[in-house]
C-alpha cells in the first residue's frame, strides 16, 4: 500500500501509518432511492462495478443530503439472495413454490397470449393491481389502453382516506401533497403517525422544530419514535381522533377563536345551503342562474354570487330565497354541529381517554399561537381577483396525519375534521401553517371523474379516461343498475368515493366471482399472500380455490416482483423485476410528486449497476407487452412499437397531452421549457447532469396562499398543473356527499339498493362527524375489549422485504407490546406467550410490557413475520418462528349486518381498508414455543441457498492493499 503523508491527521512517530485519503470508489452515480416511498436523492459510490457506499444527495429537494436507516442499508437490499433470477413458470400446485425457469421470450409470449385473449373477449376479465408502485401514471395508462376498468395501486389499503378527505376539502392532502412549514411553524400537531410516512422529510422537520423550540404535540396511542420526542403526548384511544378534533373545534367556536376573515375569503363558510327537508335539493347550495353558489351580501342587502369579491358575505342568518325557501350559511350549520353537547370536552373525555381540561388547554394553545403569535412577512402578493396585499399573514400552527387516522372506518370524516380545524385557524398555506406542494392545490374536489362504466368497456378498445377520480354524486358511480363495474366494487354503492380503489378486496371478490369472473389477475410488488392482505389464511384459500372441474377459480395469475416474496408461490407466471439500482424509473408530477412547498420537482432512476441475473424492470416489460398487444398509445400506425427504446424512450417521448409528458424538466427542443414543451431528446442527459432530478423554485411571491395566489395559479396553468387560474375554495361543507345522501333519501334516477340506503344516508354527511368504527360497533365489547394496531419500525417503514441482512439484525422478530397494567391483569411478563384473538381468528405471540401505550391498546411491528421458504431466509429464522402478523386476525369483511350482506372492512365512503379497527382479546398461553398459525413452508423457488456468512467490503480492502 502506498501511503502519502497528509498535512492533517498525520501520524506521530511510532503510530501506524494509515492512508487517510483512499478514494471512496471509482465512480459516483446519482439516482433515486427506493428503500421506501420517500424517493430521496442518493449518491451511489461504485468501485469495480460494485456498490461501495450510498449517501444522501445534498442538492436533492426531498432529503437535502441526509439518508435514513433503510437507505443506508440499500447495499444489502441490492445484493439480497432472495432476488429473483429469471422468468419462471409454475410447475407444482399454487403455493408449493415449484417453478421452472423460462426465457423472457417464452414468458412474454405466454403473457401476451393470456392478455390478448382477455382483451379480445372481455377486457374487464383482467384485474391489474400494482402495490408499492411509483409509476402509476404509466401503469394506469397501460390499464386504460388495455381497456379494463380494474386497475388501482395500494392506496386503498394505505391512505385513501387522507387523500380523498383532503382533496375533497381543500384540494390537497398531507404528505405528498403538502408539508408543515418546518421553517416557521410554532405549534405542530402530529396525528396517528407511527414511525413512518414520511421518512426523511419528517425527521428533518422534527429536528428543525426542536432547534427552534416549537411545540410538538403527538396524538397517538403509542409513544415511540416521533411521538417519543414530542413535547406533549396525547395517548388517545384508537379510532376516536374525530371526537378529539371535534372537541377542539367545539372549543374554538366557544371561545370565538376562529379566523372569520379567512373563512369568508377562502372557504364556503358563507355559502347558503337550502333548507327544505324532503326536497330533491335540500342540503345543496343555493345557486344563481349562472350556477355559482350564493351568499347573502350584507352590503347590498341581497344575494350575490359567492365568486364575487366586492361583497360583504354574511356568515350567519336564515335567509329567504327568491322562491320563498329558506337557506342558511355553512358557518351556522357547522357551529351548531360542533357546539353540540356530543363534541364538548366533558362529553368526549372518557371515550377518547384524554382529560377534558387537556382538550380545553390544547384548544387555547392553538388559538394563542394562531392569533396572538401571528407571523407577518414583508412579502407583497396578489390574490386571484387581482388585489395586491402588502404582507403575508401567517397563523403558525401546522398539522400532519397518517395511518392512525386513515386506517379506520371513520377515517374519511376524521381526516376532514382535521382539515376543518386547520382551516378554522386560518393555517392552510400561510406562513407557519400547512403548505401545499406543487402540483397541489387542485380544485376542491379535483376535476377528475372515474372511468370504467360497464357500457364503456369494449373489446380491444382503450378506456375513455383514467380509472380513478372523484365522483360528485351518484351519476358518476361505475355501476350498471346496482352491479359494480369494477372487480373491487370501487365507485359502487359499497364505496362510492373510492378514489384509490380497493386492492384489498380484489382476490376475495375474484374468488367469489362477485361481481363477475375474471380470467387473469396481474399484480406488481404487492405481497397479497402475506402482509398486504387482511385475513391471510382466507386470501391463500382464495388464491388456490378450485371449481367443480378442478380448475383454479382465478385461472391465471401473473406477478412481478424483484424478490421471492410470499406472493410469488401463488402466481403462475413470474416476471422478475430488477433492484432499484438496476432500473430506469420516472418519479413523475403526473403521479405522486416529490415536490416541496418551495419547488416543483420530479426525478428519475437509471441503471447504475448492471443486473447479473436475467431480469428486467417491470415498466420496461409493460411497455414491451403494450406493443405486443397493440395498444394505440404504444404502437405506430404500422403496428410497430412506438417506444423501441423502452422505458427511457417512453419517459422522454410520451405526451399525455400536447407538451406534457412524464418528466417536467428541460422540455422543448432546446430544453428551455418547464412543465409544458415538446419532447427533448437530450432530456435524460440533462437529468443525469443535474443529479437525476429536476426542481423549479417558486418565487417568494408565489410561496404562500397558492390556492388563491394569482402569480402561482397563472404559473400552474402555464405548466399544465391546473386548467384555469380560478382559486381553490375550501369545502368545509362537502356538497357531493349530500348528493349521495339525497339519492338515499329517494331522489334522483340512481338510488342505492334498499340494502345500502340507510348506510349511505347515515355516512354521507356533508359536514364531518365522528362515529364508532364498524368492527368495534359490531363485535361485543366484552368479548374483544382491546384495540390492536401496528406500526412499521423506522428502519423498515415501507421497505420491500425485511430479509435485508443488516436490518434484520436490528429486528428479526416482533413482540406484542402491551401496557404494564394489562400485563399484570393477564399475568404475563416480558417474552411470555399469549393468545391474541379477534372475531376472525387467533394468533400466538410473545409480549413486551411498556408504559407509553394507551391502556386499551396493544400493538406490534408489522410485516416482520415471514413465511418459511420465502425471502431466502432459513427455516429457523426468527421471522418465521417467533415473528407474527396481525393480518391473520383482520377480516376483509365485516361481520354480517342487517340483511345478511357482508360489507368490506372499510370506510363506507372511500373503501379504505380499516386495518386499525381491529378488536382483540388476550389471554396467557401455556408453555413457550413458536408462533401460531404457522403455514407450511413453501419451496424456495429454485433460489440458491443463502450464504451463512457475509464479509461485504473485503474485496475493497484487498484492492487497497
Amino acid at each position: 500500500m502506498l501511503t502519502v503523508p497528509m498535512k492533517k491527521g498525520a501520524p506521530v512517530s511510532g503510530e501506524p501509518v494509515i492512508d487517510l485519503s483512499v478514494p471512496v470508489g471509482d465512480k459516483v452515480e446519482k439516482t433515486t432511492c427506493y428503500m421506501c416511498a420517500c424517493r430521496c436523492g442518493i449518491n451511489v459510490h461504485l468501485r469495480d462495478g460494485k456498490v461501495r457506499y450510498i449517501e444522501g444527495n445534498r442538492d436533492h429537494p426531498v432529503n437535502k443530503g441526509v439518508l435514513c436507516g433503510k437507505g443506508s442499508a440499500g447495499i444489502m437490499q441490492h445484493y439480497s439472495p432472495a432476488r429473483l433470477r429469471a422468468p419462471m413458470k409454475r410447475v407444482g400446485p399454487r403455493g408449493s413454490g415449484q417453478f421452472e425457469e423460462i426465457s423472457w421470450d417464452e414468458a412474454l409470449g405466454l403473457a401476451t397470449d393470456w392478455l390478448s385473449d382477455v382483451r379480445k373477449k372481455d377486457p374487464k376479465q383482467l384485474a391489474f393491481f400494482t402495490g408499492r408502485d411509483q409509476s402509476q401514471s404509466l401503469t394506469g395508462l397501460w390499464a386504460m389502453q388495455f381497456g379494463t376498468p380494474n386497475f388501482a395501486a395500494h392506496g386503498g389499503f394505505c391512505s385513501v382516506n387522507m387523500a380523498a378527505g383532503g382533496l375533497y376539502t381543500f384540494g390537497g392532502a398531507f404528505w405528498e401533497f403538502g408539508d408543515p412549514d418546518w421553517e416557521l411553524t410554532k405549534y405542530f400537531m402530529l396525528f396517528g403517525v407511527a414511525e413512518d410516512h414520511a421518512s426523511n422529510p419528517i425527521k428533518m422537520g422534527i429536528g428543525l422544530l426542536k432547534e427552534r423550540g416549537a411545540k410538538i404535540v403527538s396524538v397517538n396511542p403509542v409513544r415511540t419514535g416521533y411521538n417519543a420526542v414530542a413535547d406533549e403526548w396525547v395517548g388517545i384511544r384508537p379510532g376516536t381522533d374525530g371526537l378529539f378534533v371535534g372537541a377542539l373545534i367545539h372549543e374554538l367556536f366557544r371561545n370565538q377563536t376562529v379566523d372569520l376573515d379567512y373563512l369568508v375569503r377562502y372557504t364556503n363558510a358563507p355559502w347558503l345551503v337550502i333548507e327544505d327537508p324532503g326536497a330533491k335539493d335540500h342540503g345543496l347550495f343555493a345557486r344563481g342562474e349562472d350556477g355559482d353558489p350564493l351568499v347573502y351580501d350584507k352590503a347590498s342587502g341581497g344575494f350575490a354570487s359567492a365568486m364575487r369579491v366586492d361583497t360583504t358575505p354574511a356568515l350567519t342568518g336564515v335567509r329567504t330565497l327568491e322562491d320563498g325557501r329558506k337557506a342558511r350559511p355553512v358557518f351556522e350549520l357547522m357551529a351548531e354541529r360542533y357546539l353540540g353537547d356530543e363534541y364538548s370536552p366533558a362529553a368526549v373525555a372518557s371515550q377518547i381517554g384524554v382529560a377534558a381540561e387537556d382538550i380545553r388547554r390544547i384548544a387555547k394553545e392553538l388559538a394563542n399561537v394562531a392569533f396572538e403569535q401571528e407571523i407577518v412577512l414583508d412579502q407583497p402578493w396578489t390574490d386571484w381577483a387581482g388585489r395586491r396585499h402588502e404582507k403575508m399573514i401567517g397563523r403558525p400552527v401546522s398539522m400532519h396525519a397518517m395511518r392512525g387516522i386513515s386506517a379506520h372506518s371513520n377515517g374519511f370524516h376524521t381526516c376532514r375534521l382535521i382539515h376543518i380545524l386547520q382551516i378554522l385557524l386560518g393555517s392552510i398555506d400561510c406562513p407557519g401553517g400547512f403548505r401545499y406542494k406543487p402540483p397541489y392545490p387542485k380544485q376542491a374536489p379535483p376535476w377528475l371523474l372515474p372511468h370504467g362504466a360497464l357500457q364503456d368497456i369494449r373489446p380491444e378498445e382503450p378506456l375513455g379516461g383514467p380509472h380513478l377520480g372523484f365522483p360528485l354524486g351518484p351519476q358518476h358511480l361505475l355501476i350498471d343498475d346496482d352491479k359494480p363495474a369494477r372487480i373491487d366494487k370501487g365507485f359502487s354503492w359499497d364505496a362510492p368515493m373510492s378514489a384509490h380503489g380497493l386492492m384489498h378486496m380484489v382476490i376475495n371478490n375474484a374468488a367469489k366471482q362477485d361481481p363477475y369472473k375474471i380470467d387473469v389477475l396481474f399484480m406488481y410488488m404487492a405481497n397479497m399472500a402475506w402482509n398486504s392482505s387482511m385475513n391471510v389464511p382466507g386470501t391463500i384459500e382464495n388464491l388456490t380455490a378450485k371449481d367443480d372441474n378442478g380448475d383454479y377459480v382465478i385461472p391465471k395469475i401473473i406477478y412481478s416482483d424483484a424478490y421471492y416474496s410470499e406472493m410469488v408461490p401463488y402466481a403462475d407466471l413470474i416476471l422478475p423485476d430488477t433492484t432499484y439500482l438496476e432500473r430506469w424509473d420516472c418519479i413523475s408530477l403526473l403521479d405522486r410528486p416529490i415536490s416541496t412547498a418551495e419547488m416543483a420537482a420530479d426525478s428519475i432512476r437509471h441503471p447504475v449497476v448492471k443486473p447479473d441475473r436475467d431480469v428486467r424492470g417491470f415498466q420496461e416489460v409493460l411497455i414491451d407487452l403494450a406493443a405486443r398487444l397493440g395498444f394505440p398509445a404504444f404502437t405506430n400506425e404500422d403496428g410497430s412499437a412506438k417506444f423501441p427504446g423502452g422505458y427511457p424512450d417512453y419517459m422522454v417521448n410520451h405526451e399525455r397531452k400536447p407538451g406534457v409528458g412524464p418528466l417536467a424538466g428541460w422540455r422543448g427542443k432546446d430544453g428551455s421549457r418547464v412543465g409544458r414543451g415538446d419532447p427533448n431528446p437530450d432530456q435524460l442527459q440533462r437529468y443525469l447532469e443535474n443529479g437525476a432530478f429536476f426542481a423549479h423554485e417558486l418565487t417568494p411571491e408565489q410561496a404562500y396562499f397558492k390556492h388563491a395566489n394569482k402569480a402561482y395559479l397563472e404559473w400552474a396553468v402555464d405548466v399544465g398543473f391546473r386548467t384555469v387560474a380560478k382559486p381553490t375554495i375550501f369545502q368545509l361543507y362537502c356538497e357531493p356527499l349530500q348528493a349521495f345522501r339525497l339519492a338515499a333519501e329517494g331522489h334522483g334516477e340512481r338510488q342505492p339498493p334498499e340494502s345500502h340506503r340507510e348506510r349511505i344516508r347515515t355516512y354521507f354527511d356533508p359536514l364531518p362527524f365522528w362515529y364508532q368504527p364498524f368492527e368495534e360497533a359490531m363485535v361485543a365489547d366484552g368479548d374483544y375489549p382491546l384495540h390492536a394496531i401496528t406500526q412499521r419500525p423506522m428502519h423498515m417503514y415501507h421497505s420491500w422485504g425485511s430479509q435485508n441482512a443488516w436490518l434484520r439484525q436490528i429486528t428479526a422478530a416482533n413482540r406484542l407490546y402491551i401496557h404494564h397494567d394489562l400485563g399484570k391483569s393477564v399475568g404475563v411478563k416480558d417474552d411470555d406467550w399469549v393468545w391474541l384473538a379477534s372475531h376472525q381468528g387467533r394468533v400466538k405471540c410473545q409480549v413486551r410490557l411498556m408504559d407509553g401505550c394507551n391502556r386499551d391498546t396493544v400493538w406490534t411491528w408489522n410485516a416482520i413475520g415471514k413465511r418459511r421458504g420465502a425471502w431466502g431466509l432459513d427455516d429457523d429464522s426468527p421471522e418465521a418462528n417467533q415473528g407474527f402478523l396481525l393480518n391473520h386476525l383482520i377480516s376483509e369483511l365485516l361481520p354480517e349486518g342487517g340483511g345478511g350482506y357482508r360489507y368490506s372492512n372499510s370506510d363506507p365512503i372511500t373503501g379504505q381498508a380499516a386495518w386499525f379497527d381491529l378488536r382483540v382479546s388476550i389471554k396467557r398461553a401455556d408453555g413457550d414455543g413458536e408462533t401460531e398459525p404457522r403455514f407450511e413452508p413453501t419451496a424456495r423457488g429454485g433460489l440458491p441457498p443463502s450464504p451463512d456468512k457475509l464479509a461485504y467490503g473485503e474485496e475493497f480492502k484487498k484492492a487497497d492493499r
Binding site: A10, I18, E55, K186, K210, V229, E336, L339
Partner: protein
Amino acid sequence: MTSLPATTNKKLGLVIDLDICVGCHACATSCKEWNTGGYSAPLSDHDPYGGDPSGAWLNRVHAFEVGEGANAKTVHFPRSCLHCETPDCVTVCPTGASYKREEDGIVLVNPDTCIGCKLCSWACPYGAREYDYDDGVMKKCTLCVDRIYNESIPEVDRIPACVRACPTGARGFGDLGDPDSDVSKNVAARGGYNLLDEFGYKPVNKYLPPRAPVSVAGTKSDRPAEQVPKPDGSAVERLFAWADQALSR
C-alpha cells in the same frame, strides 16, 4: 501494555442529542455501510439469513423506555466508542494494536498487530468494541478517520458517515478540546454530559439530555368551561353575534 499520549492536539468526538434522536438507525446502518468497505473492512455478518443473525457494528442504537405512567417514553440511545481521554482499552492492549492518536485523540485498532485477545473489550465499560469473528480482530468506531481527512471527497463531506446521514441532525462532530468549537458551545449550552462519568475514563463524546418540554400559553380569549353548552342556547347565540361582523371578501 500500551501507553497513551500525554496529551492530544485535538479531542475529536461526537455530540449526540437525545432530545432529537428518533431511533431511525440511520447512524448505525450508514456506519456499517461505510466501514464495511473502509478502514475496518469488512464488518462481517454471521448467519445473515438464518436463525441467529449477528455481525460487527461500530455503532448501535438501543431503545428502552424511561419514566412511568403518563411520563413514560421510549428513549433512543446511540452507542459507539467515546474516544476516552484515558481509556483502559488502550492500556490493556498487549501488542500496541490499540492506540490513541496524538494528533486528534481518536482511538484506533491496528488490524495488522491485533491478535484478537479481546482484553480491550473487557476493559471497555461501554461495550463499544466489536470483535469480528470472521476477521479475528477487534473493530471499533474510527470516527471515520478515513473520511475526515480524506482529500478525495468534498470538504463538506469530511465528517463521520453517521453525522453525514443523520436525518434529524441529532449528531454533531468536532473538536471537543476547543471551547470555541460549535460542538463545545452546544455542549455548554445544553448541559451535555459524559456517559458513566464515574468510571473516570473521561469520554470525549458527549450526550445532550432531552430539553424540557416546550410550553405554550393559552389564548387570552378564554371563556369559562360550560358544563352543558346547548346547541340552541347561549354558546351558539354568542358565536353568531360575534360572527355577524362586516367581513369583506
